[in-house]
Subunit: 157 residues, 2 copies
C-alpha cells in the first residue's frame, strides 16, 4: 500500500521555490515508486516555451522515458499544487496510482493562474464554453474508428 | 472571423487513418492560422512511448516551437476526435481560438479509449475519484505562492 512520505512533498515544494527563483512558474512535482524517487522536475513552460510543460506532465513524460514504459501504475505523484485538468488528464492516461498535493486550484487562481477557470469549463455543455467548439464530418471520421476496430492487434489505454 | 474549412478537417481525418496504419492510435490534428496550415500531426503515444503525446498536445507543443510563441491565440484546431480533458486543458492553456472536431468522446469510448471516463472523473469531488488524491502541507506550499506574488516581473497565463 502507498503511504505518504512528507519528505517527498517537501522536496516538490522546494522544487516549486527553485522554479520561481529561476524564472519558471512556481510548481514542482516528483514521481516515486516503492518509496524511491524516480523523477523530479519543475514547471518548464517558460524555458521550453511550451504551455503543456507543467511539472506533472513533464514528470510523466520524463519518467516514462526513464523507466521505458508507457504506463506508471506503480507511481505515486507528489506535487506542490493540485494538478490542473490537463495534468489530471495526463495522470489518468498514465494510470498513476496516487496523488499527494499541497496548494489547491483556488490557491493557484489567487496568484493568477487559470486552473480553477479551466476546471469550471470542462464539464460545461460544449456551446456554453469560452472557447467555441463545433462538430462536423462525423461520418468520415467514424470510418477510421471502424477500421481501427478491425485491427486484430489493437491496444487501447 | 474564423470560418470552417472542411479540407482541413478532412486532412486531420486522413492523418488519423495514417496513424492507424502506422501502429499509432487513430487520431489526427491540425493547427491553422488565417486559413494556412501551421502544423499537422498524428497521435504519437506509441512511437514516443509518451501517454501525453495525443495529436492535439503534440500539435500545440510543436506549433509553439515552430511559431516561437507560448500562446496560440490566432490558431484554430481541426481534430479528428473531440479533445480529451488533457488536450482540452492544453487548448485552454495555449488559448487556441476555435476547435473543429468530428468524432465524439462517446465514439472514442466505443472503440476502447478512456476519454469519456476521464471527462466524468474531472468534475467529481476529490474523494469520489478513481485515483486517490490527498492534500497535505498546505502552509509550506503557500509560502512559495506568497513569494511568487512578491515577484514584480511575474507573468501568469
Amino acid at each position: 500500500m502507498p503511504s505518504l512520505d512528507e519528505d517527498f512533498l517537501r522536496h516538490a515544494i522546494d522544487l516549486a521555490k527553485t522554479a520561481r527563483q529561476h524564472g519558471e512558474y512556481p510548481f514542482g512535482a516528483i514521481l516515486v515508486v516503492n518509496q524511491q524517487l524516480v523523477h523530479q522536475t519543475t514547471d518548464h513552460c517558460m524555458s521550453y516555451a511550451d504551455p503543456t510543460a507543467h511539472a506533472e506532465v513533464t514528470a510523466i513524460r520524463n519518467a516514462c522515458k526513464q523507466l521505458n514504459t508507457f504506463q506508471l501504475e506503480d507511481c505515486e505523484l507528489y506535487t506542490s499544487c493540485e494538478p490542473c485538468p490537463m495534468c489530471l488528464g495526463a495522470i489518468y492516461w498514465s494510470k498513476i496510482k496516487k496523488i499527494y498535493y499541497a496548494c489547491t486550484r483556488s490557491d493557484a487562481a489567487s496568484i493568477g493562474f487559470s486552473d480553477d477557470f479551466i476546471y469550471n469549463e470542462i464539464p460545461k455543455a460544449l456551446h456554453e464554453r469560452t472557447i467555441p467548439i463545433e462538430q462536423v464530418m462525423w461520418e468520415e471520421a467514424m470510418q477510421v474508428f471502424k477500421e481501427w476496430m478491425l485491427k486484430p492487434d489493437r491496444i487501447t489505454y
